[in-house]
């Protein structure tokens, strides 16, 4: 029964190493956090990797949105070609800082996120791909709060498959 004795120091070393790594990682995160918040113009890679709309919104903004009639989402009732669906979002809210558009049942829900600096109007139009009939969700960030609107778009031919 020498193995537990032999194994003990190794395990202890491992634990210590682990603790060191955690400490380092912790510090790294601490110093990174404010830098990220300050820059705020980094590409939100994680948010684009999320599968569901709720996770993507959480990853992007860290909070949830409330439905608002001050968010206007323009999308067709029926999109014949899912590869090119014209979608525009505008808002009558004040102090809009960003607008994001999500497609619920795409492989990754978040499609596009726009930063709206002061002086730029809270209105954007673009064209997105949709895999199938599903909800399109518009998120508007205004005065630090999130507001949303959604609309179902029927897709005749999906734009994600081959």
């Amino acid at each position: 029964m020498t193995t537990p004795l032999d194994g003990f120091p190794a395990t202890r070393r491992l634990i210590l190493k682990g603790a060191g790594a955690v400490a380092l990682f912790g510090f790294g995160r601490l110093s990174l956090g404010p830098a990220l918040a300050a820059a705020n113009d980094k590409y939100p890679e994680d948010a684009f990797k999320q599968k569901s709309d709720a996770d993507a919104i959480k990853s992007l903004y860290g909070k949830t949105a409330e439905a608002s009639d001050k968010v206007k989402l323009d999308a067709p009732e029926i999109a014949e070609n899912g590869a090119v669906v014209p979608i525009s979002v505008s808002s009558t809210l004040a102090d809009v800082t960003s607008i994001s558009i999500l497609v619920s049942e795409n492989p990754n829900a978040l499609a596009a996120s726009y930063k709206i600096p002061a002086g730029t109007l809270p209105s954007v139009a673009n064209r997105l791909k949709m895999a199938k009939t599903t909800n399109v969700i518009a998120i508007v960030e205004a005065g630090g709060k999130l507001y949303s609107a959604s609309k179902e778009v029927k897709v005749t031919v999906g734009g994600c498959g081959g």
Binding site: N108, A111, S113, K115, G119, T120, N126, L128, C160
Partner: protein, 103 residues
């Protein structure tokens, strides 16, 4: 070399409306080619519009943006004859830049 970026920026006095059309495959990574192999993702991640040294619009895009993407927005200010600078960078690190005169 022809630019991948086509922009029309029109000033109406108070605001400037910008429409941009960019040539890019915007491959999502979910589509197969004729041989049945997946085409790897290749899409624009960031598109920035700058006027007077400041960014007036920044787009973060995922692969769900359509091929040859189009975007439209407006900003307050912007004088006829002034420059609007547009640049994009994709997930493979490729990029392009163009400057358009506000009309």
């Amino acid at each position: 070399m022809a630019s991948t970026i086509r922009v029309r920026a029109t000033s109406s006095g108070e605001t400037t409306e910008v429409q941009a059309l960019i040539q890019h495959p915007m491959d999502s990574g979910y589509v197969k080619d004729a041989k049945g192999d997946l085409i790897p993702p290749h899409f624009i991640q960031e598109l920035t519009f700058e006027y007077d040294g400041k960014s007036v619009f920044v787009a973060d895009w995922g692969p769900a943006v359509s091929k040859d993407p189009y975007v439209k927005f407006s900003f307050r200010g912007g004088k006829k004859g002034d420059d609007l600078k547009i640049s994009w960078v994709d997930n493979k690190g490729a990029s392009d830049t163009a400057t358009a005169k506000i009309q």
